[in-house]
Symmetry: C3
Subunit: 213 residues, 3 copies
Protein backbone atom coordinates (compact mmCIF):
# COMPACT_ATOMS: atom_id res chain seq x y z
CA UNK A 1 0.00 0.00 0.00
CA UNK A 2 1.43 3.39 -0.99
CA UNK A 3 1.78 6.11 1.61
CA UNK A 4 -1.03 8.20 0.17
CA UNK A 5 -3.38 5.19 0.12
CA UNK A 6 -2.45 4.55 3.77
CA UNK A 7 -3.27 8.07 4.85
CA UNK A 8 -6.50 8.04 2.94
CA UNK A 9 -7.79 5.31 5.25
CA UNK A 10 -7.84 7.90 8.00
CA UNK A 11 -9.75 10.61 6.27
CA UNK A 12 -13.50 10.64 5.68
CA UNK A 13 -14.24 9.18 2.27
CA UNK A 14 -15.60 12.36 0.71
CA UNK A 15 -12.43 14.27 1.58
CA UNK A 16 -10.63 12.27 -1.12
CA UNK A 17 -12.05 14.61 -3.72
CA UNK A 18 -10.57 17.72 -2.13
CA UNK A 19 -7.13 16.05 -2.12
CA UNK A 20 -7.43 15.01 -5.74
CA UNK A 21 -8.50 18.46 -6.92
CA UNK A 22 -5.60 19.94 -4.94
CA UNK A 23 -3.23 17.58 -6.74
CA UNK A 24 -4.70 18.69 -10.07
CA UNK A 25 -4.13 22.41 -9.41
CA UNK A 26 -0.66 21.70 -7.97
CA UNK A 27 0.18 19.93 -11.23
CA UNK A 28 -1.26 22.81 -13.26
CA UNK A 29 0.73 25.32 -11.20
CA UNK A 30 4.02 23.48 -11.85
CA UNK A 31 3.09 23.09 -15.51
CA UNK A 32 2.39 26.77 -16.05
CA UNK A 33 5.47 27.81 -14.03
CA UNK A 34 7.65 25.69 -16.34
CA UNK A 35 5.75 27.12 -19.29
CA UNK A 36 6.85 30.61 -18.27
CA UNK A 37 10.47 29.39 -18.23
CA UNK A 38 10.10 27.70 -21.62
CA UNK A 39 8.43 30.63 -23.32
CA UNK A 40 11.25 33.04 -22.40
CA UNK A 41 12.87 32.76 -25.82
CA UNK A 42 12.88 30.74 -29.02
CA UNK A 43 15.90 28.81 -27.70
CA UNK A 44 14.09 27.53 -24.61
CA UNK A 45 11.24 26.01 -26.66
CA UNK A 46 13.05 22.71 -27.12
CA UNK A 47 12.14 19.03 -27.48
CA UNK A 48 12.92 18.65 -23.76
CA UNK A 49 10.46 21.45 -22.97
CA UNK A 50 7.84 19.74 -25.14
CA UNK A 51 8.45 16.42 -23.36
CA UNK A 52 8.10 18.07 -19.94
CA UNK A 53 4.80 19.68 -20.91
CA UNK A 54 3.56 16.33 -22.25
CA UNK A 55 4.40 14.67 -18.92
CA UNK A 56 2.36 17.25 -17.05
CA UNK A 57 -0.51 16.73 -19.43
CA UNK A 58 -0.40 12.96 -18.89
CA UNK A 59 -0.18 13.47 -15.11
CA UNK A 60 -3.36 15.56 -15.34
CA UNK A 61 -5.10 12.83 -17.36
CA UNK A 62 -4.22 10.31 -14.67
CA UNK A 63 -5.54 12.51 -11.87
CA UNK A 64 -8.78 13.14 -13.79
CA UNK A 65 -9.15 9.41 -14.23
CA UNK A 66 -8.62 8.86 -10.48
CA UNK A 67 -11.38 11.36 -9.74
CA UNK A 68 -13.77 9.46 -12.03
CA UNK A 69 -12.83 6.17 -10.35
CA UNK A 70 -13.47 7.65 -6.90
CA UNK A 71 -16.82 8.94 -8.18
CA UNK A 72 -17.69 5.34 -9.02
CA UNK A 73 -16.66 4.06 -5.58
CA UNK A 74 -18.04 6.77 -3.30
CA UNK A 75 -21.68 7.25 -2.63
CA UNK A 76 -21.03 10.40 -0.62
CA UNK A 77 -19.36 13.33 -2.36
CA UNK A 78 -18.60 16.82 -0.99
CA UNK A 79 -20.66 18.37 -3.78
CA UNK A 80 -22.82 17.16 -6.66
CA UNK A 81 -21.39 14.38 -8.84
CA UNK A 82 -22.15 16.45 -11.95
CA UNK A 83 -20.17 19.39 -10.55
CA UNK A 84 -17.19 17.16 -9.78
CA UNK A 85 -17.40 15.80 -13.32
CA UNK A 86 -17.63 19.27 -14.89
CA UNK A 87 -14.84 20.78 -12.81
CA UNK A 88 -12.55 17.83 -13.57
CA UNK A 89 -13.18 18.23 -17.30
CA UNK A 90 -12.64 21.98 -17.22
CA UNK A 91 -9.31 21.65 -15.38
CA UNK A 92 -8.29 18.90 -17.78
CA UNK A 93 -9.04 21.21 -20.70
CA UNK A 94 -6.53 23.71 -19.27
CA UNK A 95 -3.76 21.09 -19.31
CA UNK A 96 -4.76 19.87 -22.79
CA UNK A 97 -4.83 23.28 -24.47
CA UNK A 98 -1.79 24.58 -22.62
CA UNK A 99 0.13 21.54 -23.93
CA UNK A 100 -1.35 22.02 -27.43
CA UNK A 101 -0.15 25.64 -27.59
CA UNK A 102 3.42 24.56 -26.78
CA UNK A 103 3.20 21.59 -29.16
CA UNK A 104 2.08 23.66 -32.14
CA UNK A 105 4.90 26.20 -31.73
CA UNK A 106 7.38 23.36 -32.28
CA UNK A 107 5.32 21.37 -34.76
CA UNK A 108 4.56 24.34 -37.04
CA UNK A 109 8.10 25.65 -36.67
CA UNK A 110 6.34 28.88 -35.69
CA UNK A 111 8.39 32.07 -35.45
CA UNK A 112 8.90 33.23 -31.86
CA UNK A 113 7.17 36.38 -30.62
CA UNK A 114 7.43 37.95 -27.14
CA UNK A 115 3.63 37.67 -26.86
CA UNK A 116 4.16 33.97 -26.11
CA UNK A 117 6.02 34.91 -22.93
CA UNK A 118 3.43 37.52 -21.93
CA UNK A 119 0.67 34.94 -22.36
CA UNK A 120 2.58 32.32 -20.35
CA UNK A 121 2.73 34.80 -17.46
CA UNK A 122 -0.99 35.62 -17.70
CA UNK A 123 -1.78 31.89 -17.70
CA UNK A 124 0.49 31.32 -14.69
CA UNK A 125 -1.29 34.12 -12.80
CA UNK A 126 -4.69 32.58 -13.59
CA UNK A 127 -3.58 29.13 -12.48
CA UNK A 128 -2.18 30.43 -9.17
CA UNK A 129 -5.59 31.95 -8.44
CA UNK A 130 -7.28 28.69 -9.40
CA UNK A 131 -4.96 26.89 -6.99
CA UNK A 132 -5.93 29.29 -4.20
CA UNK A 133 -9.62 28.90 -5.04
CA UNK A 134 -9.47 25.09 -4.91
CA UNK A 135 -7.56 25.05 -1.60
CA UNK A 136 -10.00 27.53 -0.08
CA UNK A 137 -12.97 25.52 -1.34
CA UNK A 138 -12.27 22.72 1.20
CA UNK A 139 -15.25 22.34 3.52
CA UNK A 140 -16.75 25.59 2.20
CA UNK A 141 -15.17 27.48 5.08
CA UNK A 142 -13.70 30.37 3.06
CA UNK A 143 -16.36 31.37 0.53
CA UNK A 144 -15.17 34.99 0.35
CA UNK A 145 -11.60 33.99 -0.49
CA UNK A 146 -12.82 31.56 -3.17
CA UNK A 147 -15.00 34.25 -4.70
CA UNK A 148 -12.16 36.79 -4.67
CA UNK A 149 -9.99 34.36 -6.68
CA UNK A 150 -12.78 33.78 -9.18
CA UNK A 151 -13.20 37.54 -9.65
CA UNK A 152 -9.44 37.91 -10.13
CA UNK A 153 -9.38 35.12 -12.77
CA UNK A 154 -12.15 36.93 -14.65
CA UNK A 155 -10.11 40.12 -14.50
CA UNK A 156 -6.96 38.43 -15.86
CA UNK A 157 -8.99 36.78 -18.62
CA UNK A 158 -10.18 40.24 -19.69
CA UNK A 159 -6.57 41.46 -19.80
CA UNK A 160 -5.62 38.39 -21.86
CA UNK A 161 -8.54 39.04 -24.19
CA UNK A 162 -7.47 42.66 -24.81
CA UNK A 163 -3.86 41.60 -25.26
CA UNK A 164 -4.91 38.94 -27.78
CA UNK A 165 -6.94 41.50 -29.77
CA UNK A 166 -4.03 43.92 -29.88
CA UNK A 167 -1.57 41.22 -30.96
CA UNK A 168 -3.92 40.00 -33.70
CA UNK A 169 -4.35 43.54 -35.04
CA UNK A 170 -0.57 44.03 -35.04
CA UNK A 171 -0.05 40.64 -36.69
CA UNK A 172 -2.17 41.55 -39.71
CA UNK A 173 -0.22 44.81 -40.10
CA UNK A 174 3.14 43.07 -39.71
CA UNK A 175 4.00 42.42 -43.37
CA UNK A 176 5.09 38.95 -42.28
CA UNK A 177 4.84 35.96 -44.58
CA UNK A 178 1.19 34.80 -44.77
CA UNK A 179 2.01 31.25 -43.62
CA UNK A 180 3.78 32.70 -40.56
CA UNK A 181 0.74 34.85 -39.83
CA UNK A 182 -1.46 31.72 -39.99
CA UNK A 183 0.87 29.86 -37.61
CA UNK A 184 1.15 32.74 -35.13
CA UNK A 185 -2.60 33.37 -35.22
CA UNK A 186 -3.21 29.70 -34.48
CA UNK A 187 -0.85 29.56 -31.48
CA UNK A 188 -2.19 32.85 -30.08
CA UNK A 189 -5.72 31.44 -30.33
CA UNK A 190 -4.66 28.38 -28.32
CA UNK A 191 -2.99 30.57 -25.69
CA UNK A 192 -6.04 32.79 -25.37
CA UNK A 193 -8.19 29.66 -25.13
CA UNK A 194 -6.22 28.52 -22.06
CA UNK A 195 -7.30 31.65 -20.21
CA UNK A 196 -10.89 31.03 -21.38
CA UNK A 197 -10.74 27.55 -19.83
CA UNK A 198 -9.40 29.06 -16.59
CA UNK A 199 -12.41 31.35 -16.59
CA UNK A 200 -14.72 28.38 -17.27
CA UNK A 201 -13.21 26.58 -14.28
CA UNK A 202 -13.65 29.68 -12.11
CA UNK A 203 -17.29 29.94 -13.19
CA UNK A 204 -17.92 26.29 -12.26
CA UNK A 205 -16.26 26.84 -8.86
CA UNK A 206 -18.41 29.95 -8.36
CA UNK A 207 -21.58 28.03 -9.20
CA UNK A 208 -20.63 25.26 -6.74
CA UNK A 209 -20.12 27.96 -4.10
CA UNK A 210 -23.54 29.44 -4.88
CA UNK A 211 -25.17 26.06 -4.30
CA UNK A 212 -23.50 25.06 -1.05
CA UNK A 213 -22.65 28.12 1.00
CA UNK B 1 -33.41 52.14 -2.28
CA UNK B 2 -33.79 52.34 -6.06
CA UNK B 3 -37.21 52.15 -7.65
CA UNK B 4 -36.65 48.67 -9.04
CA UNK B 5 -35.47 47.40 -5.63
CA UNK B 6 -38.60 48.95 -4.11
CA UNK B 7 -40.92 47.19 -6.54
CA UNK B 8 -39.13 43.91 -6.06
CA UNK B 9 -40.25 43.88 -2.44
CA UNK B 10 -43.78 43.36 -3.74
CA UNK B 11 -43.16 40.47 -6.03
CA UNK B 12 -42.54 36.89 -4.94
CA UNK B 13 -38.80 36.29 -4.65
CA UNK B 14 -38.54 33.76 -7.46
CA UNK B 15 -40.11 36.17 -9.95
CA UNK B 16 -36.90 38.21 -9.84
CA UNK B 17 -35.35 35.75 -12.27
CA UNK B 18 -38.01 36.29 -14.92
CA UNK B 19 -37.44 40.06 -14.72
CA UNK B 20 -33.69 39.67 -14.99
CA UNK B 21 -33.89 37.35 -18.01
CA UNK B 22 -36.31 39.81 -19.63
CA UNK B 23 -33.77 42.60 -19.10
CA UNK B 24 -31.10 40.42 -20.70
CA UNK B 25 -33.11 39.77 -23.88
CA UNK B 26 -34.22 43.43 -24.01
CA UNK B 27 -30.54 44.42 -23.95
CA UNK B 28 -29.72 41.82 -26.64
CA UNK B 29 -32.61 43.09 -28.79
CA UNK B 30 -31.34 46.70 -28.63
CA UNK B 31 -27.79 45.50 -29.25
CA UNK B 32 -28.67 43.51 -32.37
CA UNK B 33 -30.96 46.29 -33.65
CA UNK B 34 -28.05 48.74 -33.44
CA UNK B 35 -25.84 46.12 -35.03
CA UNK B 36 -28.12 46.09 -38.08
CA UNK B 37 -27.71 49.88 -38.32
CA UNK B 38 -23.94 49.67 -37.95
CA UNK B 39 -23.46 46.89 -40.46
CA UNK B 40 -25.24 48.81 -43.23
CA UNK B 41 -21.99 49.96 -44.80
CA UNK B 42 -18.26 50.26 -44.20
CA UNK B 43 -18.78 53.90 -43.18
CA UNK B 44 -21.15 53.06 -40.31
CA UNK B 45 -18.66 50.65 -38.69
CA UNK B 46 -16.98 53.41 -36.67
CA UNK B 47 -15.27 53.76 -33.32
CA UNK B 48 -18.57 55.10 -31.95
CA UNK B 49 -20.34 51.96 -33.17
CA UNK B 50 -17.66 49.82 -31.51
CA UNK B 51 -18.07 51.75 -28.25
CA UNK B 52 -21.85 51.31 -28.34
CA UNK B 53 -21.53 47.55 -28.85
CA UNK B 54 -19.01 47.36 -26.00
CA UNK B 55 -21.46 49.15 -23.70
CA UNK B 56 -24.18 46.60 -24.53
CA UNK B 57 -21.73 43.80 -23.86
CA UNK B 58 -20.82 45.26 -20.46
CA UNK B 59 -24.50 45.76 -19.64
CA UNK B 60 -25.04 42.07 -20.37
CA UNK B 61 -22.14 41.10 -18.10
CA UNK B 62 -23.68 43.14 -15.30
CA UNK B 63 -27.09 41.51 -15.71
CA UNK B 64 -25.51 38.04 -15.76
CA UNK B 65 -23.70 38.90 -12.57
CA UNK B 66 -26.96 40.06 -10.96
CA UNK B 67 -28.55 36.73 -11.85
CA UNK B 68 -25.69 34.86 -10.16
CA UNK B 69 -26.04 37.07 -7.07
CA UNK B 70 -29.79 36.40 -6.88
CA UNK B 71 -29.03 32.67 -7.23
CA UNK B 72 -26.88 32.99 -4.12
CA UNK B 73 -29.60 34.81 -2.17
CA UNK B 74 -32.71 32.90 -3.18
CA UNK B 75 -33.48 29.43 -2.03
CA UNK B 76 -36.54 29.21 -4.26
CA UNK B 77 -36.05 29.55 -8.03
CA UNK B 78 -38.63 29.23 -10.81
CA UNK B 79 -36.59 26.43 -12.39
CA UNK B 80 -33.43 24.46 -11.59
CA UNK B 81 -30.41 26.49 -10.51
CA UNK B 82 -28.30 24.68 -13.12
CA UNK B 83 -30.72 25.71 -15.85
CA UNK B 84 -30.63 29.33 -14.74
CA UNK B 85 -26.84 29.16 -14.77
CA UNK B 86 -26.70 27.58 -18.23
CA UNK B 87 -29.23 29.93 -19.79
CA UNK B 88 -27.45 32.97 -18.34
CA UNK B 89 -24.13 31.77 -19.79
CA UNK B 90 -25.64 31.00 -23.19
CA UNK B 91 -27.26 34.45 -23.46
CA UNK B 92 -24.00 36.04 -22.31
CA UNK B 93 -22.16 34.17 -25.08
CA UNK B 94 -24.46 35.84 -27.63
CA UNK B 95 -23.45 39.31 -26.40
CA UNK B 96 -19.76 38.35 -26.22
CA UNK B 97 -19.49 36.91 -29.72
CA UNK B 98 -21.73 39.55 -31.30
CA UNK B 99 -19.39 42.18 -29.84
CA UNK B 100 -16.31 40.20 -30.95
CA UNK B 101 -17.54 40.05 -34.55
CA UNK B 102 -17.92 43.86 -34.64
CA UNK B 103 -14.60 44.37 -32.86
CA UNK B 104 -12.62 42.25 -35.30
CA UNK B 105 -13.98 44.04 -38.36
CA UNK B 106 -12.42 47.25 -37.00
CA UNK B 107 -9.35 45.69 -35.43
CA UNK B 108 -8.35 43.68 -38.52
CA UNK B 109 -9.23 46.57 -40.80
CA UNK B 110 -11.33 43.96 -42.59
CA UNK B 111 -12.77 44.80 -45.98
CA UNK B 112 -16.56 45.34 -45.89
CA UNK B 113 -18.86 42.80 -47.54
CA UNK B 114 -22.67 42.97 -47.76
CA UNK B 115 -22.79 39.56 -46.02
CA UNK B 116 -22.10 41.40 -42.77
CA UNK B 117 -25.40 43.22 -43.13
CA UNK B 118 -27.29 40.04 -44.07
CA UNK B 119 -25.89 38.31 -41.00
CA UNK B 120 -26.79 41.24 -38.73
CA UNK B 121 -30.40 40.90 -39.91
CA UNK B 122 -30.45 37.13 -39.35
CA UNK B 123 -29.04 37.67 -35.84
CA UNK B 124 -31.62 40.35 -35.11
CA UNK B 125 -34.41 37.99 -36.20
CA UNK B 126 -33.07 35.25 -33.92
CA UNK B 127 -32.81 37.60 -30.96
CA UNK B 128 -36.37 38.89 -31.43
CA UNK B 129 -37.60 35.29 -31.23
CA UNK B 130 -35.46 34.70 -28.13
CA UNK B 131 -37.03 37.78 -26.60
CA UNK B 132 -40.51 36.41 -27.31
CA UNK B 133 -39.54 32.99 -25.91
CA UNK B 134 -38.21 34.45 -22.65
CA UNK B 135 -41.29 36.66 -22.14
CA UNK B 136 -43.62 33.74 -22.84
CA UNK B 137 -41.65 31.49 -20.48
CA UNK B 138 -42.95 33.42 -17.44
CA UNK B 139 -44.92 31.06 -15.19
CA UNK B 140 -44.91 28.39 -17.92
CA UNK B 141 -48.29 29.61 -19.09
CA UNK B 142 -47.54 29.73 -22.82
CA UNK B 143 -45.55 26.58 -23.64
CA UNK B 144 -46.75 26.45 -27.26
CA UNK B 145 -45.65 30.00 -27.97
CA UNK B 146 -42.24 29.36 -26.40
CA UNK B 147 -41.82 26.21 -28.47
CA UNK B 148 -42.83 28.00 -31.68
CA UNK B 149 -40.10 30.60 -31.09
CA UNK B 150 -37.52 27.87 -30.46
CA UNK B 151 -38.50 26.14 -33.71
CA UNK B 152 -38.23 29.47 -35.57
CA UNK B 153 -34.74 30.12 -34.12
CA UNK B 154 -33.65 26.69 -35.33
CA UNK B 155 -35.01 27.53 -38.78
CA UNK B 156 -33.16 30.86 -38.94
CA UNK B 157 -29.96 29.17 -37.76
CA UNK B 158 -30.25 26.75 -40.69
CA UNK B 159 -30.64 29.69 -43.07
CA UNK B 160 -27.59 31.34 -41.51
CA UNK B 161 -25.64 28.11 -41.85
CA UNK B 162 -26.46 27.79 -45.57
CA UNK B 163 -25.68 31.46 -46.11
CA UNK B 164 -22.34 31.06 -44.34
CA UNK B 165 -21.42 28.05 -46.51
CA UNK B 166 -22.27 29.91 -49.70
CA UNK B 167 -20.28 32.98 -48.64
CA UNK B 168 -17.26 30.86 -47.71
CA UNK B 169 -17.35 29.08 -51.06
CA UNK B 170 -17.57 32.44 -52.87
CA UNK B 171 -14.78 33.86 -50.72
CA UNK B 172 -12.29 31.19 -51.81
CA UNK B 173 -13.21 31.84 -55.45
CA UNK B 174 -12.93 35.61 -55.04
CA UNK B 175 -9.31 36.16 -56.10
CA UNK B 176 -9.02 38.51 -53.13
CA UNK B 177 -5.75 39.00 -51.29
CA UNK B 178 -5.10 35.98 -49.02
CA UNK B 179 -4.85 38.10 -45.86
CA UNK B 180 -8.22 39.65 -46.67
CA UNK B 181 -9.68 36.17 -47.14
CA UNK B 182 -8.35 35.17 -43.71
CA UNK B 183 -9.87 38.29 -42.12
CA UNK B 184 -13.25 37.89 -43.83
CA UNK B 185 -13.37 34.16 -43.03
CA UNK B 186 -12.67 34.95 -39.38
CA UNK B 187 -15.40 37.57 -39.06
CA UNK B 188 -17.93 35.38 -40.91
CA UNK B 189 -17.14 32.53 -38.50
CA UNK B 190 -17.86 34.83 -35.54
CA UNK B 191 -21.13 35.98 -37.11
CA UNK B 192 -22.23 32.42 -37.78
CA UNK B 193 -21.25 31.50 -34.23
CA UNK B 194 -23.68 34.13 -32.87
CA UNK B 195 -26.58 32.29 -34.52
CA UNK B 196 -25.21 29.01 -33.09
CA UNK B 197 -25.33 30.52 -29.61
CA UNK B 198 -28.91 31.69 -30.24
CA UNK B 199 -29.75 28.10 -31.12
CA UNK B 200 -27.97 26.87 -27.96
CA UNK B 201 -30.08 29.28 -25.91
CA UNK B 202 -33.26 28.08 -27.64
CA UNK B 203 -32.31 24.47 -26.92
CA UNK B 204 -31.78 25.24 -23.23
CA UNK B 205 -35.15 27.02 -23.09
CA UNK B 206 -36.77 24.03 -24.80
CA UNK B 207 -35.23 21.61 -22.30
CA UNK B 208 -36.47 23.76 -19.39
CA UNK B 209 -39.93 23.64 -20.96
CA UNK B 210 -39.73 19.85 -21.26
CA UNK B 211 -38.97 19.54 -17.56
CA UNK B 212 -41.62 21.85 -16.16
CA UNK B 213 -44.69 21.87 -18.36
CA UNK C 1 -50.28 2.64 -36.56
CA UNK C 2 -46.78 1.83 -37.80
CA UNK C 3 -45.12 -1.42 -36.84
CA UNK C 4 -42.62 0.26 -34.50
CA UNK C 5 -45.41 2.15 -32.74
CA UNK C 6 -47.30 -1.14 -32.36
CA UNK C 7 -44.35 -2.89 -30.75
CA UNK C 8 -43.71 0.02 -28.46
CA UNK C 9 -47.06 -0.59 -26.81
CA UNK C 10 -45.61 -3.81 -25.40
CA UNK C 11 -42.46 -2.42 -23.90
CA UNK C 12 -42.22 -0.46 -20.67
CA UNK C 13 -42.35 3.25 -21.46
CA UNK C 14 -38.81 4.03 -20.35
CA UNK C 15 -37.37 1.43 -22.75
CA UNK C 16 -38.30 3.75 -25.62
CA UNK C 17 -35.14 5.74 -24.94
CA UNK C 18 -32.86 2.75 -25.37
CA UNK C 19 -34.46 2.01 -28.77
CA UNK C 20 -34.11 5.61 -29.88
CA UNK C 21 -30.45 5.84 -28.89
CA UNK C 22 -29.84 2.54 -30.71
CA UNK C 23 -31.42 4.01 -33.83
CA UNK C 24 -29.15 7.05 -33.52
CA UNK C 25 -25.94 5.00 -33.35
CA UNK C 26 -27.17 2.69 -36.14
CA UNK C 27 -27.65 5.78 -38.31
CA UNK C 28 -24.20 7.10 -37.33
CA UNK C 29 -22.64 3.70 -38.13
CA UNK C 30 -24.15 3.65 -41.65
CA UNK C 31 -23.19 7.30 -42.12
CA UNK C 32 -19.54 6.76 -41.21
CA UNK C 33 -19.37 3.51 -43.21
CA UNK C 34 -20.52 5.41 -46.32
CA UNK C 35 -18.08 8.18 -45.43
CA UNK C 36 -15.22 5.67 -45.65
CA UNK C 37 -16.42 4.72 -49.15
CA UNK C 38 -16.74 8.34 -50.21
CA UNK C 39 -13.37 9.43 -48.88
CA UNK C 40 -11.49 6.75 -50.85
CA UNK C 41 -10.52 9.18 -53.61
CA UNK C 42 -11.25 12.63 -55.01
CA UNK C 43 -13.56 11.01 -57.59
CA UNK C 44 -15.85 9.47 -54.97
CA UNK C 45 -16.48 12.84 -53.25
CA UNK C 46 -19.41 13.69 -55.51
CA UNK C 47 -22.68 15.60 -55.26
CA UNK C 48 -24.40 12.22 -54.72
CA UNK C 49 -22.07 11.52 -51.79
CA UNK C 50 -22.83 14.96 -50.35
CA UNK C 51 -26.57 14.33 -50.70
CA UNK C 52 -26.29 10.94 -48.97
CA UNK C 53 -24.39 12.48 -46.04
CA UNK C 54 -27.00 15.25 -45.79
CA UNK C 55 -29.77 12.63 -45.60
CA UNK C 56 -28.02 10.87 -42.73
CA UNK C 57 -27.61 14.20 -40.96
CA UNK C 58 -31.32 14.98 -41.35
CA UNK C 59 -32.21 11.48 -40.14
CA UNK C 60 -30.16 12.15 -37.02
CA UNK C 61 -31.93 15.48 -36.45
CA UNK C 62 -35.28 13.69 -36.64
CA UNK C 63 -34.24 11.02 -34.14
CA UNK C 64 -32.91 13.69 -31.75
CA UNK C 65 -36.21 15.49 -32.03
CA UNK C 66 -38.09 12.24 -31.25
CA UNK C 67 -36.00 11.78 -28.12
CA UNK C 68 -36.90 15.29 -26.96
CA UNK C 69 -40.59 14.61 -27.64
CA UNK C 70 -40.45 11.38 -25.61
CA UNK C 71 -38.74 13.32 -22.81
CA UNK C 72 -41.76 15.59 -22.77
CA UNK C 73 -44.22 12.66 -22.66
CA UNK C 74 -42.52 10.30 -20.21
CA UNK C 75 -42.27 10.93 -16.54
CA UNK C 76 -40.07 7.87 -16.03
CA UNK C 77 -36.72 7.74 -17.85
CA UNK C 78 -33.98 5.10 -17.62
CA UNK C 79 -31.49 7.74 -16.54
CA UNK C 80 -31.53 11.46 -15.69
CA UNK C 81 -33.35 13.72 -18.14
CA UNK C 82 -30.28 15.98 -18.28
CA UNK C 83 -28.10 13.03 -19.27
CA UNK C 84 -30.50 12.02 -22.02
CA UNK C 85 -30.47 15.60 -23.26
CA UNK C 86 -26.67 15.86 -23.17
CA UNK C 87 -26.06 12.49 -24.84
CA UNK C 88 -28.57 13.30 -27.58
CA UNK C 89 -26.83 16.62 -28.28
CA UNK C 90 -23.36 15.04 -28.29
CA UNK C 91 -24.40 12.33 -30.76
CA UNK C 92 -26.11 14.96 -32.90
CA UNK C 93 -22.86 16.96 -32.95
CA UNK C 94 -21.10 13.93 -34.46
CA UNK C 95 -23.56 13.83 -37.38
CA UNK C 96 -23.40 17.62 -37.83
CA UNK C 97 -19.62 17.93 -37.94
CA UNK C 98 -19.12 14.73 -39.95
CA UNK C 99 -21.50 16.20 -42.54
CA UNK C 100 -19.76 19.59 -42.37
CA UNK C 101 -16.35 18.04 -43.07
CA UNK C 102 -17.70 16.37 -46.25
CA UNK C 103 -19.59 19.52 -47.25
CA UNK C 104 -16.55 21.80 -47.01
CA UNK C 105 -14.38 19.52 -49.15
CA UNK C 106 -16.85 20.03 -52.00
CA UNK C 107 -17.75 23.63 -51.22
CA UNK C 108 -14.15 24.86 -50.94
CA UNK C 109 -13.12 22.76 -53.93
CA UNK C 110 -10.45 21.47 -51.56
CA UNK C 111 -7.59 19.39 -52.96
CA UNK C 112 -7.84 15.70 -52.01
CA UNK C 113 -5.32 14.21 -49.57
CA UNK C 114 -5.15 10.58 -48.38
CA UNK C 115 -5.46 11.85 -44.79
CA UNK C 116 -9.20 12.28 -45.49
CA UNK C 117 -9.49 8.52 -45.96
CA UNK C 118 -7.40 7.75 -42.87
CA UNK C 119 -9.61 10.04 -40.80
CA UNK C 120 -12.81 8.48 -42.20
CA UNK C 121 -11.56 5.09 -40.99
CA UNK C 122 -10.66 6.41 -37.54
CA UNK C 123 -14.11 7.98 -37.27
CA UNK C 124 -15.78 4.74 -38.39
CA UNK C 125 -13.84 2.82 -35.71
CA UNK C 126 -14.94 5.31 -33.04
CA UNK C 127 -18.58 5.12 -34.10
CA UNK C 128 -18.59 1.29 -34.08
CA UNK C 129 -17.39 1.42 -30.46
CA UNK C 130 -20.06 4.01 -29.64
CA UNK C 131 -22.63 1.67 -31.18
CA UNK C 132 -21.42 -1.20 -28.98
CA UNK C 133 -21.42 1.05 -25.90
CA UNK C 134 -25.01 2.20 -26.47
CA UNK C 135 -26.29 -1.36 -27.07
CA UNK C 136 -24.49 -2.61 -23.95
CA UNK C 137 -25.86 0.29 -21.90
CA UNK C 138 -29.39 -1.21 -22.01
CA UNK C 139 -30.55 -1.95 -18.46
CA UNK C 140 -27.01 -1.37 -17.13
CA UNK C 141 -26.33 -5.10 -17.35
CA UNK C 142 -22.94 -4.91 -19.07
CA UNK C 143 -21.03 -2.07 -17.37
CA UNK C 144 -17.60 -3.59 -18.11
CA UNK C 145 -18.29 -3.88 -21.83
CA UNK C 146 -19.56 -0.29 -21.95
CA UNK C 147 -16.47 0.93 -20.13
CA UNK C 148 -14.16 -1.03 -22.45
CA UNK C 149 -15.72 0.70 -25.47
CA UNK C 150 -15.32 4.11 -23.84
CA UNK C 151 -11.64 3.40 -23.15
CA UNK C 152 -11.17 2.27 -26.76
CA UNK C 153 -12.80 5.48 -28.08
CA UNK C 154 -10.40 7.53 -25.96
CA UNK C 155 -7.51 5.53 -27.40
CA UNK C 156 -8.64 6.09 -31.00
CA UNK C 157 -9.13 9.79 -30.29
CA UNK C 158 -5.51 9.99 -29.15
CA UNK C 159 -4.39 8.31 -32.37
CA UNK C 160 -6.52 10.78 -34.36
CA UNK C 161 -4.99 13.67 -32.40
CA UNK C 162 -1.42 12.55 -33.16
CA UNK C 163 -2.30 11.95 -36.79
CA UNK C 164 -3.83 15.42 -37.03
CA UNK C 165 -0.69 17.03 -35.54
CA UNK C 166 1.56 15.19 -37.97
CA UNK C 167 -0.60 16.13 -40.96
CA UNK C 168 -0.70 19.78 -39.92
CA UNK C 169 3.08 19.89 -39.55
CA UNK C 170 3.49 18.31 -42.99
CA UNK C 171 0.95 20.68 -44.49
CA UNK C 172 2.92 23.77 -43.48
CA UNK C 173 6.08 22.25 -45.00
CA UNK C 174 4.27 21.25 -48.19
CA UNK C 175 4.98 24.30 -50.38
CA UNK C 176 1.34 24.14 -51.44
CA UNK C 177 -0.58 27.25 -52.42
CA UNK C 178 -1.55 29.19 -49.24
CA UNK C 179 -5.27 29.10 -50.06
CA UNK C 180 -5.07 25.31 -50.43
CA UNK C 181 -3.31 25.09 -47.08
CA UNK C 182 -6.13 27.11 -45.49
CA UNK C 183 -8.76 24.82 -47.05
CA UNK C 184 -6.99 21.60 -46.06
CA UNK C 185 -6.33 22.87 -42.54
CA UNK C 186 -10.00 23.73 -42.17
CA UNK C 187 -11.26 20.31 -43.32
CA UNK C 188 -8.69 18.47 -41.16
CA UNK C 189 -9.86 20.49 -38.16
CA UNK C 190 -13.47 19.41 -38.81
CA UNK C 191 -12.41 15.77 -39.15
CA UNK C 192 -10.43 15.88 -35.92
CA UNK C 193 -13.39 17.56 -34.24
CA UNK C 194 -15.60 14.57 -35.14
CA UNK C 195 -13.36 12.29 -33.07
CA UNK C 196 -13.46 14.86 -30.24
CA UNK C 197 -17.25 14.68 -30.26
CA UNK C 198 -17.07 10.86 -30.19
CA UNK C 199 -14.89 11.20 -27.10
CA UNK C 200 -17.38 13.68 -25.57
CA UNK C 201 -20.16 11.14 -26.14
CA UNK C 202 -18.06 8.38 -24.58
CA UNK C 203 -17.38 10.59 -21.55
CA UNK C 204 -21.10 11.28 -21.10
CA UNK C 205 -21.84 7.54 -21.35
CA UNK C 206 -19.10 6.85 -18.80
CA UNK C 207 -20.53 9.42 -16.39
CA UNK C 208 -24.01 7.88 -16.75
CA UNK C 209 -22.47 4.51 -15.93
CA UNK C 210 -20.74 5.93 -12.86
CA UNK C 211 -24.06 7.22 -11.56
CA UNK C 212 -26.20 4.15 -12.07
CA UNK C 213 -24.13 0.99 -11.75
Amino acid sequence: MGISAFFRLFQPKDKVFYSLFEQVVDNLASMSKDMVEGMKSRETITEAFYKKMEDYEHANDKLSHNIFIELGKNFITPFDREDIHQLTSALDDIADILFASCKYILLYKSPYIPAYYTFANLIYDCVLELQKAIYNLRNFKKPKEVLASCVEINRIENVADDFFSKEMGDLFESKRDVLDIIKLKNVLEYLEDVTDKCEDSANIIESILVKYS
